[in-house]
Structure formats: C-alpha cells, structure tokens
Symmetry: C2
Subunit: 189 residues, 2 copies
DNA sequence: CGCGTTTTATAACACATGTTATTATACTTT
DNA sequence: AAAGTATAATAACATGTGTTATAAAACGCG
C-alpha cells in the first residue's frame, strides 16, 4: 500500500556527508539538506527523528571514511608506520573540515588515546614498533603514544591552517621524528 | 556635560573573556554579555561596533593570556625547553575552551609555524636547541618544528578530551620526546 | 538647579535555526 | 481503476542570534 520514499535515508546521509566534507559539519542544517536534495524540509525530518541523529550517523560515516584512508596502500609500503603517519597528516591537510569534525568538534566520542592503544586492531602496529626498536612490550605503548601525538600535532596544525601542506617536507619531518623516537631503547623511568 | 559610561569597554571585554574561558567563545553573545553585566544589550553594542569586534579583542586577550602562561616560571627552570613544552600542554589541559578558541576556531590569525619560527622572539629558543644538540643554525628550525608539532599534538589531544591530564606522565612523555629528537645530529638531505 | 549630551532601556526588525500541524500528493495493492 | 496509506509540500511556531530605532534616563557643567 505505501509508496516508496523518494528521499531515502541514504540520500540524506550522502548529502550530509558532502556538506560536512565541503563546508564543515556546522553547515549541516535541515534546510540546506533539503535544498541539496531538491525537496522541502519535511522528508528530512521524516526519515530521522532529529538533526542530532543525522549528525551522529554522519560522524560515524566520517569516521569510517577516515580509517579507510588511513590504511590506504599500507600493505605495499616498505615502512608501514611511516606510511600510516603520512596518511594521517595527508588526510588532515586534504579534508580539513572532516578532521575538525572528527577530532575537534564535541561530536568526538571521547575515546582516549590510552583506550585506542588497548584495542586489538592496534596490536600489529605495536608489534611494528617492537620490531623497529627492540623494546619490550610494556614500553611499546609509550613510544607509540609519542609517535601518535607527534603525528596528530602535525595533522592539527595542517587542518587549522597553521602549516602549509608539502608532501616532501612532511615525509622528511616524519621520518626525522620516527628516527629519533625509534632509536630510544629501554629508558629508566 | 556628558555622563560617564557605567558599562565600560573593559568590563565588556572582561565578561567576554570569562565567557570564552568558561564556556568557549561560541558562548559570547550580546545578550549573555548583557546578562553578566547586569544591563540591557544596548550598552554592549554602543561601546563596540559589532560582536565581531568584541571577539577580535577577546581573541587578542586570550592570546596574551596564553603567552604569559607559556613563559611562566621559565627563568628558574633547569630545562627551559622542556618547561616551555609542559606549560604549553598544561595550558591546553586546564584551559580547553581557550585553547580551542586560539588554535581551532577560525579566529586563528593564520600565522604559519614557519612564520612563527622566523620571529625574533623565538631565536633564543632556537639557540637552546643548538646548545642541546650541537646542530648548525640551518637545521635547528627543523628540530624545533618537530618538537613544536609533537607538543602541540599532546596539547590538542588534551584539549579535545582524547587524553587525561597527568602531570607526571606528561613530563615523562615530553622528556622522552625531547631526548629522542635532541639526539639527532646532522642528518643527510 | 536645569540644560544638553551621553548613555541606557525598551522594543522591535531581520534572519537562521529545529520542529511540527495540516494539507496535498503519489504510489502500491487490491 | 479505486482506495487507502505512506510520503511530501506548505506554512507556521518557537527560539536564538545580531542589530537598530525610539524614547527615557542620568550625569557634568554652566
């Protein structure tokens, strides 16, 4: 009996993601979504209970998009950790609004770096750190954390226009950082 | 002939700064300022041409506040660079809204890290890097940049709740970072 | 004390946001 | 084809924002 929806949930989320990507998540409003979809504001809030819900879904989508980009071409990389770091900061430079949405927006879920490191997906990365440094398991987390913070720092600077993107310079800077940190051996506490 | 203004520019800027500090710069609105000052919205926009102007002034004030905190107790520090870094990330942890206002807000003036390093105020810091590493002048900038990025990374993580503040851990992490980077000598390329 | 200028209060306008009635439309099924 | 239901359009409400017009108030100076 019912007609199918012309304005589907997917279409709305697509539009929302595009808006977030181009103009930042603050640009996601019911009316702008309607405009992009060529409809009135009604279908948008008919498919979702509230804009809040749309933003939550869009955040998840951006998160997936981000992690996909992080691991892009990582298998064929000779230095996977360095490649990962480069992907991270390239993303920040090329997708500034998304980066801010993900990590600087209040929609950030509040995963602590500590929690992130404890996740099983990160284990192989910690193993790489161990491989490169020869550090015992207990210390790898600290080195990884420092690497992450440094990479995230470059990314933040790029995403907020405190730095210009330059692939060559970025690679040089990161490899310097990695070189410095990877040379650390068991330190006294 | 004229009566003095009861609601002065300074009072307005004080209120604006407090709002930015407590709730973030987004909380700075004419009506909220009026409420804090115990007056109507009229005096606020009578002393300033627009809210934009108030925000510009408040940004400057926050910037001064920040740099004052950066150099707090730096003379008596035995490791000035480390102390500076610690001040930087402590500020981010203790003044999250201000940190976001300063570096993640669109009110950020767009000073590039490169430009920052070129400023004369930074010269003594570069000298410290040279002292600690023995690197020639040309390379100090690169090391300083890496140090800055790493410190800024920790700060960003703290300011956006991706990390819990722990003074001891912070000192340990920073000194590890500094140790790693300071050990770098003249690199190829 | 009163005059004149400056400051403030009141109130409203213009705009943008989320959300919701009410009405019209369109489609799927019988 | 008709009917009934899910969907969409129109329009409005409620709220929050910056800004401004108008009128009242307050103060320093003569």
């Amino acid at each position: 009996m019912p007609p199918k929806a012309k304005v589907t949930r997917e279409a709305i989320l697509d539009a929302a993601f595009e808006l977030a990507r181009e103009q930042g998540f603050e640009a996601i409003t019911v009316r702008r979504l309607a405009e992009r979809l060529g409809c009135s504001t009604q279908p948008v809030l008919y498919q979702f209970e509230s804009v809040r819900q749309i933003l939550e879904e869009t955040y998840r989508r951006a998160d997936d998009f981000h992690t996909a980009r992080l691991f892009d071409g990582l298998e064929s990389a000779e230095e996977p950790l360095l490649a990962l770091g480069l992907n991270y900061i390239r993303f920040a430079a090329e997708e500034k609004p998304l980066f801010r949405f993900l990590f600087q927006s209040g929609w950030f879920e509040g995963r602590t770096l500590e929690e992130l490191i404890a996740q099983p997906e990160v284990a192989p990365l910690l193993a790489l750190v161990g491989e490169a440094t020869g550090l015992p398991e207990a210390e790898r987390g600290r080195v990884f954390e420092a690497l992450f913070a440094a990479v995230h720092g470059y990314a933040s600077l790029l995403a907020n226009n405190a730095m210009r993107w330059d692939g060559e310079a970025a690679r040089a800077a990161l490899s310097m950082l990695f070189e410095g940190l990877m040379k650390l051996r068991g330190r006294p506490r």
